[in-house]
């Protein structure tokens, strides 16, 4: 009897955790992947480990320590890159290692062994508390509201920041707020996938979506779907096989990525074998002389060759 209650609790927690993780990671991940902020996000993740260490040492919730470290390091890097006082990638590299170093030092200084430490590094559904799930749920709501209210503004600022500055005085505000939300998303997902692997939870789903769509809003939706499938399946496998959740989730996501990529390639090959006319644009829809239709293809090839 006790066994079944435990299993039921585990399934609910696992499914809710997977759902909220995939929503937050899908929204934040689409933003960081398309803005090419993956390395910055890696820096935020590892810097936040410093906060986990201090949390252990000082005896407060390590997630709060991680959140403070994560947000401060994210804003710090954005600030430095806005001011252009330092090479951004070097700053991130320093922050990355410094956060890990602080974390390790404080964990060693803490008397006794910390049994939960492994769950922070590798992620575990067993140690995820109800409070963690609720926090991720609230974060999902915040991100859904934020991205749907400011969708156009966020899209245009991250596509072309310099141009956005010509019409909006709020570009920096949006960059800081969005980056802080990304940092918080990463920190809350550390409980699910672990410091070492959480970044992939954010980056793999958008890359699965970008195989077949280039429209921002669709990338978000498909990222959430792919993320949910990967996370839920990963948890199930991790539970029954007794291996760390983070690793199983990432493994499952990469398999999904490979399958989607394979199916897409197969689909493309098959559709290319159809009569060649289906690829040509109707002549009437292009107002230019027919010869200019040649231009895009050749100039794209040139760009690709560079």
């Amino acid at each position: 009897m006790e066994e079944t209650i435990f299993q039921y609790d585990f399934i609910v927690k696992g499914l809710l955790g997977a759902l909220f993780a995939s929503i937050t990671a899908g929204l934040a991940g689409t933003y960081i992947v398309s803005r090419k902020m993956v390395f910055l996000s890696g820096g935020i993740t590892h810097a936040s480990f410093g906060g986990i260490g201090i949390g252990y040492f000082a005896g407060f919730n390590p997630v709060i320590g991680a959140a403070i470290f994560g947000i401060l390091s994210a804003l710090g890097v954005e600030y430095l890159s806005v001011r252009q006082k330092i090479r951004e990638d070097s700053a991130i590299g320093i922050l990355w290692a410094f956060g890990m170093a602080i974390g390790i030092i404080f964990i060693y200084l803490t008397p006794g062994y910390s049994p939960n430490l492994m769950s922070y590094l590798f992620g575990s559904i067993l140690t995820v508390s109800n409070a963690d799930i609720i926090a991720l749920g609230i974060m999902s709501l915040i991100l859904i509201f934020y991205f749907s209210i400011f969708y156009r503004t966020i899209l245009y600022i991250s596509y072309d920041e310099a141009f956005a500055r010509t019409y909006s005085p709020y570009v920096n505000v949006f960059k800081y707020v969005t980056t802080a939300l990304i940092a918080l998303t990463i920190v809350l997902n550390i409980r699910m996938a672990g410091v070492i692997l959480v970044l992939s939870l954010l980056t793999i789903p958008p890359n699965i979506a970008m195989i077949f769509t280039k429209v921002y809003s669709r990338i978000i939706v498909w990222s959430v779907i792919a993320g949910f499938l990967g996370t839920a399946a990963g948890y199930a496998i991790s539970y029954f096989a007794g291996i760390p959740a983070g690793a199983t989730i990432i493994f499952t996501l990469v398999i999904i990525w490979l399958i989607v990529k394979g199916i897409y390639k197969l689909f493309r090959t098959l559709s290319n074998q159809q009569p060649a006319t289906s690829n040509q644009q109707p002549a009437t829809s292009n107002q230019e002389p027919a010869t200019s239709n040649q231009q895009p293809a050749t100039s794209n090839q040139q760009q690709n060759n560079q």
Binding site: T153, S158, Y159, D160, S168, Y216, S285
Partner: protein, 248 residues
């Protein structure tokens, strides 16, 4: 005549020395001004001051109310400042030009989207409406950015070296389009190629740290001297010829 904006003794500096010095300049409705001058003479800086991206170290710039309240300025940057691999469609990029008259929380209405497809048709980009930017050639990209600059019905259009990317198929069409746009908006077009723009603009502003305004589209010796270096002038005639410096 009502001016759209007026600069009074405006000077701009990036730190060491002046880029623009003591500029007095006003743009009126329906102006079509070619902004010429040597590279590094401050042409792009002038546009950035008008856009409010750079604050003058001294001097004032005053706008008429419709420019001061909302920034009804269309801008075509010299080169693409965005990431061409970003997951954004041609329609999205052109729609982003509507932001000059929107609030940060605005959504795009169906009339905005109709407007975008109308602009896309006019620019001959209908086949690419849902393409991502990486599928476009340089000339097509430039047309997308022109679309972004004009969709919000600006009353002042700033073009920075539009000739750089305009492909020869589109060149005539491009200047004809500007002539039509000029009926409802003032245009300030930066170019280092006097020959190319001479038959299109109504007047010139020569920018080389200072600014000299020439109210006619005739090019004078004095204007060429503002370059501070030898300039080869190409003119149109029955027989192809170029005009070189007179023998001393």
């Amino acid at each position: 005549m009502p001016y759209l904006f007026e600069m009074k003794s405006v000077s701009v500096s990036y730190g060491a020395g002046y880029v623009l010095r003591d500029i007095n300049f006003a743009v009126n409705e329906r102006d079509f001004i070619g902004v010429i001058g040597p590279n590094g003479g401050g042409k792009t800086t002038l546009l950035k001051v008008i856009l409010g991206l750079l604050k003058p170290v001294c001097g004032t710039i005053s706008f008429i109310s419709s420019l001061a309240d909302g920034k009804r300025i269309g801008y075509l940057p010299q080169m693409s400042t965005g990431d061409n691999n970003y997951p954004v469609t041609v329609t999205d990029v052109i729609l982003s030009g509507m932001m000059i008259r929107k609030r940060i929380m605005s959504r795009m209405s169906s009339s905005d989207k109709n407007k975008a497809s109308q602009v896309i048709d006019e620019l001959g980009l209908s086949a690419f409406a849902h393409s991502s930017l990486s599928e476009l050639s340089g000339g097509q990209l430039q047309r997308v950015f022109l679309g972004r600059a004009i969709i919000g019905d600006p009353i002042l259009l700033l073009l920075d070296e539009p000739g750089n990317f305009v492909d020869s198929n589109f060149e005539h069409d491009f200047y004809e389009r500007l002539r039509i746009l000029n009926r409802r908006m003032a245009i300030l077009m930066v170019s280092h190629d006097i020959g190319m723009i001479s038959s299109h603009v109504k007047s010139y502003a020569c920018v080389n740290m200072g600014l000299h305004y020439h109210p006619s589209s005739e090019i004078s010796n004095e204007q060429l001297l503002a370059y501070g270096c030898p300039v080869q002038l190409i003119t149109h005639g029955d027989v192809p010829h170029t005009v070189l410096k007179t023998h001393s």
